[in-house]
């Protein structure tokens, strides 16, 4: 036993080193899959995520020929005594046109809480053509007990929306957040109007308490 195994010791060592290199590569690959997945989804729009900060309006002629139904769905979260309501569940827009819809957050609980409304678009390819100029979803919201707060969503469906898409559903799901993480979102392309808008809607005093 000694001689055979000893004789092959260098070869065994080489094999082990090679397998360890593969192993290390696969470990790196496993974690690299997370950013790869994000990039892949961003490029293809596959998981229906929208941009996480304000986008600028694309100036283009409104396509009067086409009308797309825009539907809004809001969902609460387990353990979060909030309600999120939209003034109109469904509107009809032309591609290229910008539109505004108001959402109302209500804290029905007995203490101040922080939450965020996380968007998702169906069908997912539409998420590439949905531009949000102003959205409450870019940041966490803090509501005192019993407080309510209305914020607008200003969006545009661009004209390159695939023609087979007749209806787009935008779902907002509330998720509770840690209490100390109210963050202000930064506009991505520094458009002055967006920055102003974002600041305005973030400001509770002008947010319209009811």
């Amino acid at each position: 036993m000694v001689n055979v195994v000893e004789d092959r010791r260098p070869q065994v060592r080489r094999t082990v080193i090679k397998t360890l290199v593969v192993l290390a590569g696969m470990c790196v690959f496993a974690f690299a899959l997370v950013p790869l997945y994000d990039v892949f989804c961003q490029v293809t729009g596959l998981n229906g995520k929208t941009a996480s900060s304000a986008q600028s309006l694309v100036h283009q002629e409104v396509d009067d020929e086409r009308t797309v139904t825009m539907q809004f769905v809001t969902r609460g979260a387990a353990g979060l005594p909030w309600r999120l309501e939209v003034e109109e569940r469904q509107i009809r827009v032309h591609p290229g046109q910008s539109a505004e819809v108001h959402f109302t957050f209500r804290n029905l609980g007995e203490r101040s809480l922080v939450a965020r409304a996380v968007p998702s678009v169906t069908p997912s390819p539409a998420s590439l053509h949905l531009r949000k100029l102003v959205c409450f979803c870019f940041e966490n919201q803090r509501l005192a007990a019993g407080e309510s707060f209305t914020a607008p969503l200003v969006f545009q469906l661009t004209r390159d929306l695939p023609p087979e898409i007749k209806a787009v559903t935008l779902v907002y799901t509330l998720y509770p957040q840690e209490n100390d993480t109210v963050t202000a979102a930064m506009p991505d392309d520094g458009k002055h109007i967006d920055a102003v808008a974002t600041r305005r809607w973030a400001d509770r005093s002008s947010g319209g308490e009811t």
Partner: protein, 542 residues
């Protein structure tokens, strides 16, 4: 599972006994002999005993589930505990029973089949075994923790396994890490052994199919166990360190979990079946007294299945909302796997064709494997049809499918292997009449258990639910009766193995007259040290 080869039976040349004799004097006795052993046969035995223990524990969990499902309504356990039982049953059977059993068989038989004196890295071998009892003690201990054991299914989908998980999940993650390290080290050892320690004259294409399938399985393990480790690490961070890999509220994506899990999970199911293919490809030629038909095509088919296994993972996720293109891609790539698998089944049947067949217990299990695994393969093809899967998803049809490929598939192949090699391990033939009883009770029990699940699934019964509508009552009662029949007949298996270790009809070196591989050239029971001088391998044409 086998007895230890007695030391006084060491059969080696004078020079060898001088060399190993000294070594022998320092060997620890009693318990420490097993804790410290670096001998591939002893470690193989430890793996097999461990796996049998886990098989019985996981089986008890399954019987709790089947007992609850015997009738509609809640009788025996609470839904929370029911969920823990389904989860632990799956985890224990996959990671604790089937995988270690194959590693144990590899430890015992790979060196014997390639004419090597031991595994290439004997101490690492000892370490990879002893990680397993630690991992599974930890996993089983979660049953006694506040909040109970993991209850989110063996696939531990986030956020069920993160946001909504019991506190014991952190222990579960640690135990999976340890079991994963054990598998990886075992795989490295097997690769190093097969590639470097073959007998002089043995080319790769001379190796038995069991060695070939294990080599490919070991590469699969190296490739995907790090992904599993990565996924559970991300879960750990989501649970304990406030990251949001899988938490939509923090910018993560729960669907990412499913992609990562099944990127590991689909190759994992082939890790559990490729060695089974190897075992059956060794047993059928022996008892058909013919050479294996299409040896080279078997090797290439195994390799193709392994490569394809990386391209089909999303067929587990047809209903998450994949785009049409992805549905089609994963549907067709999945169906493509039926081609190499079909090649294998064809080769087994052609090997049997006009063979001189005898039905020893090992052969009974191997033939049952071919028939019943094929049934599981066909239901797999049905599930691969994406639009049909929208109907079958998360029903008992899926449960029927994967139990057909894992129980009469993987588990039957392990039993076939045990019956086939017990004479080599213990020097005795297993009791023939009792083995036949064990086979027939098992095969009837398995089909009674799992065949009705196809029907209850097609009728719409969901998985992982402790209660069900009245129309499923008859199917479930039959399933439960079959499950107890199958479960209890495994006690007979334990009795047979113990009897075989203690005595029985003495087996010669070549225990089966059609067996041609290298392991049958060493005495039965195999002495502790074999092939200290490598045998000169005479190539047989395949």
């Amino acid at each position: 599972m086998a007895s230890l080869p007695p030391k006084h039976r060491l059969q080696s040349s004078a020079a060898d006994s001088a060399a190993t004799g000294q070594h022998e004097h320092h060997r620890p006795r009693g318990l420490m002999r097993w804790v410290l052993t670096t001998n591939h046969k002893e470690i193989g035995t430890l793996y097999l005993i461990f796996s049998l223990t886990m098989f019985l524990i996981g089986g008890v969990f399954a019987l709790v589930v089947r007992a609850e499902l015997f009738q509609p309504g809640l009788q025996l356990v609470q839904p929370e505990f029911f969920n823990q039982m389904t989860t632990m049953h799956g985890l224990i059977m996959v990671f604790g029973a089937v995988m270690p059993a194959f590693v144990g068989l590899a430890n015992w038989m790979v060196p014997l089949q390639i004419g090597a004196p031991d595994m290439a890295l004997p101490r690492l071998n000892n370490f990879s075994f002893w990680l397993l009892p630690i991992a599974f003690t930890l996993m089983l201990s979660t049953l006694f923790m506040p909040g109970g054991a993991p209850n989110f299914g063996w696939t531990f989908y986030a956020p069920l396994s993160t946001t909504y998980a019991p506190p014991s999940t952190t222990f579960f993650i640690l135990s999976l890490h340890i079991a994963g390290i054990s598998s990886i080290l075992g795989a490295i050892n097997i690769i190093a052994t097969i590639l470097n320690l073959r007998a002089p004259g043995m080319r790769m294409m001379d190796m038995t199919l069991f060695v070939w399938t294990w080599l490919i399985t070991a590469f699969l393990l190296i490739a995907v166990m790090p992904v599993l480790a990565g996924v559970v690490t991300m879960m750990l961070m989501d649970i304990n360190f406030g990251t949001s890999f899988f938490n939509a509220g923090g910018g993560g994506d729960p669907v990412l979990f499913q992609h990562l899990f099944w990127f590991f999970g689909h190759p994992e199911v082939y890790i559990m079946i490729l060695p089974a293919f190897g075992i059956v490809s060794v047993i059928i030629p022996t008892f058909a007294r013919k050479r294996l038909f299409g040896y080279a095509s078997m090797v290439y088919a195994t390799a193709s299945i392994a490569i394809l296994s990386f391209l089909v993972w999303a067929h587990h996720m047809f209903v998450v909302g994949l785009p049409l293109v992805a549905e089609l891609f994963f549907m067709y790539s999945t169906m493509l796997i039926a081609v190499p698998t079909g090649v294998k089944v064809f080769n087994w049947i052609t090997t049997l064709f006009r063979g001189s067949i005898s039905f020893e217990p090992a052969m009974l299990f191997a033939i049952a494997f071919v028939v019943l695994f094929t049934i599981g393969g066909f239901s797999g093809l049905m599930l691969a049809i994406s639009p049909a899967d929208f109907q079958y998803h998360d029903t008992y049809f899926v449960v029927a499918h994967f139990h057909y490929v894992l129980v009469p598939g993987a588990v039957f192949s392990i039993m076939a292997a045990v019956y086939y090699w017990l004479p080599k391990w213990t020097g005795h033939y297993p009791h023939l009449r009792l083995s036949q009883w064990h086979f027939w009770l098992s095969v009837i029990g398995v089909n009674l258990t799992f065949f009705p699940m196809h029907f209850s699934g097609l009728a719409g019964m969901p998985r992982r639910i402790p209660d069900y509508s009245l129309q499923f009552a008859d199917f479930n009662m039959v399933s439960s009766i079959g499950a107890f029949m199958f479960g209890l007949s495994q006690l007979l298996f334990v009795v047979i193995v113990i009897m075989c270790v203690r005595g029985g009809k003495t087996a010669p070196a070549k225990a089966w007259d059609g067996a041609e591989d290298l392991e049958w050239t060493v005495p039965s029971p195999a002495p502790l040290h074999t092939f200290e001088h490598p045998p000169q391998y005479r190539p047989v044409e395949h």
